[in-house]
């Protein structure tokens, strides 16, 4: 049952604050051309396309057909997905499902966004419930700040602990020519940046970005046609919590031992499928959807990289820096580039480049196992584990 699936080609645009020189289709096309060229194929070799963005950021609601000029999907099966912050990882998982099903051999995944074309906060509010959330909704930053305060309350972590993450991400981005922000921040810079929503400051947050990413997925039956070494998908999982902004803060979850149930359940599932017992040691690099600095503390715990409350010590130890036990976000991550529909797919693309040894100045030596995650609005999660060796059997 099922086929094993690998990433065999990757393309991305440079991530920028605004790309008025191209329309959406043209932006998509830059990444698609790069991915097809990287895979050594043309659009005629592609069996199906999966594309994703957040409709309301551009105000264009039938992106699947509107984008065929750019995506190469003219007269091919195409499916559009919109899942918030996780859109890019959902696109990757859906492309994986297409190929793993055995129905398609070569599938192109595309994620993109032009955040410059709308009011991002206004657009994000349309993703939330009109009765229970919207009348009082104070934007994405305030939603994340609720998590940050809860985390500090539970663990005693400090704003300075979070600033370490903010500095690490921006330092890593200096090695990535595709990253949007190239700024060498210090802890003091982050601590002195203005509060947006206490305890979250300007320096703690991701930017808004225009950009696109495309990834070619291939079946084990055709993988040898491609010039690049395959970066195999080992396992994927996703979990959704409930419906409203207030749901993730229900104390029952914490009393039952779950701090971030969607991420913890997803991570546990992929680790169990692959047989990972000690993620920090066994995973060689992680490209995580960290939308703001405090996530870089708490998610370490949810991913099993350390014990509850151990995030600050782990980050301060250097274990997640380049050269550490498991470098996190060599690309600079989401805090350096956040074209929302592309963001999750960039995590998968970066993991593929790391496994293939093609990540340039941001390469981590000898990557055998890589972890990618996606994060979405009401604290839901996608998790993908990728590897250099073909899995013994398809794992779902």
């Amino acid at each position: 049952m099922g086929k094993r699936v690998a990433v065999v080609g990757v393309g991305m645009t440079k991530q920028r604050s605004s790309r008025p020189d191209v329309n959406g289709q043209e932006l998509i096309n830059e990444a698609v051309r790069a991915a097809l060229e990287d895979a050594g194929i043309s659009r005629r070799d592609i069996d199906a396309v999966v594309i994703g963005n957040m409709d309301h950021f551009e105000g264009i609601n039938y992106v699947d057909t509107w984008s065929v000029d750019g995506s190469g999907a003219l007269m091919k099966p195409i499916m559009k997905l919109t899942t918030g912050g996780t859109t890019g990882t959902t696109v990757a998982m859906a492309a994986y499902y297409h190929v793993a099903s055995g129905l398609f051999d070569r599938v192109l995944a595309v994620g993109w966004e032009k955040n410059s074309e709308s009011d991002t906060t206004g657009a994000i509010i349309t993703a939330f419930d009109p009765f229970w959330d919207r009348p009082i909704f104070a934007g994405a930053v305030a939603g994340l700040a609720l998590e940050a305060t809860q985390y500090m309350h539970l663990t005693g972590a400090t704003e300075e602990d979070a600033a370490y993450v903010a500095v690490r991400e921006r330092r890593h981005a200096l090695n990535n020519p595709f990253a949007h922000l190239h700024i060498n921040l210090t802890i003091e810079d982050v601590m002195n940046s203005p509060y947006l929503s206490w305890p979250v400051k300007m320096g703690d947050m991701c930017p808004r970005t225009d950009g696109a990413c495309a990834v070619v997925f291939a079946s084990e039956d055709v993988v040898e046609e491609f010039p690049n070494k395959p970066a195999w998908i080992l396992a994927v999982a996703d979990r959704h919590l409930w419906a409203y902004t207030s749901d993730p803060y229900v104390n029952q979850a914490i009393e039952n031992g779950w701090w971030f149930p969607a991420l913890e359940w997803s991570a546990r599932e992929v680790y169990d499928k692959v047989g990972i017992k000690d993620p920090l040691k066994e995973i060689d690099v992680a490209e995580l959807y960290l939308p703001y600095s405090f996530a870089g503390l708490r998610y370490m715990e949810s991913l099993g990289f350390c014990e509850r409350g151990g995030g600050p010590d782990l980050v301060r130890s250097g274990a997640t820096d380049m050269g550490g036990e498991c470098p996190v976000n060599p690309s600079g991550g989401v805090m350096s580039s956040n074209a929302i529909g592309a963001t999750g797919l960039l995590r998968v693309a970066e993991c593929a480049l790391q496994i293939q040894g093609r990540a340039g100045d941001r390469q981590v030596p000898d990557v055998k196992i890589a972890l990618a995650t996606g994060f979405g609005g009401c604290f839901w999660s996608d998790v993908l584990l990728m590897g250099r060796e073909m899995p013994e059997k398809p794992r779902g």
């Binding site: 008025p20 020189d21 105000g59 009011d119 906060t121 206004g122 509010i125 009109p130 009765f131 229970w132 959330d133 009348p135 009082i136 909704f137 104070a138 934007g139 930053v141 305030a142 700040a145 609720l146 998590e147 940050a148 305060t149 809860q150 309350h153 203005p194 509060y195 947006l196 929503s197 206490w198 305890p199 979250v200 409930w242 419906a243 409203y244 902004t245 207030s246 749901d247 803060y249 229900v250 104390n251 029952q252």
Partner: protein
């Protein structure tokens, strides 16, 4: 391509779309919002399977697949689970003058959290576990903004 931007501005189309949505609250949401508007009472619904009291009310328990048929009267005081102090916000969307508090309140009798605004607090006063109480609007329209905000409970002499 040569740099064509040297001598011209990029054309930008300004959007003017306004879509007048009309969302129905449904029977459960309507009963809740009527009680809030007309009687300044908070109601929750209890799942007969797991016993969780949902506030805001839910018709269906997402875990047990059971209909939450039982209405439960809740207190207008509760516990602050987590919070933030919003210092920057979209001026047209900001419901209160900046800075204002924003938090998750678990009302007495409820098991789940309720997203709302916080006001009338001193600097440094907010904390997880703080008892808070609802302040109702004079003019109420059947929305969660019929509660203007929550504030720390002040015991009067």
């Amino acid at each position: 391509m040569e740099d064509w931007r040297k001598d011209q501005e990029i054309v930008v189309m300004e959007g003017r779309i306004k879509v007048p949505y009309r969302w129905a609250a449904g029977e459960v949401g309507t009963r809740y919002l009527q009680a809030l508007r007309d009687e300044m009472r908070f109601l929750g619904t209890r799942c007969p399977g797991c016993g969780i009291v949902y506030h805001p009310p839910r018709r269906n328990c997402p875990d047990c697949e059971r209909e939450c048929g039982e209405w439960v009267e809740l207190g207008e005081r509760g516990t602050l689970l987590t919070y933030t102090v919003v210092r920057r916000h979209h001026p047209q969307l900001s419901p209160l003058p900046l800075p204002f508090g924003y938090g998750i309140v678990r009302l007495e009798g409820a098991d789940t959290g309720f997203l709302h605004l916080l006001y009338e607090f001193q600097e440094g006063e907010l904390r997880a576990g703080l008892p808070v109480e609802a302040v109702f609007a004079q003019e109420r329209e059947g929305s969660v903004l019929d509660v203007r905000y929550f504030r720390p409970v002040r015991e009067v002499g």
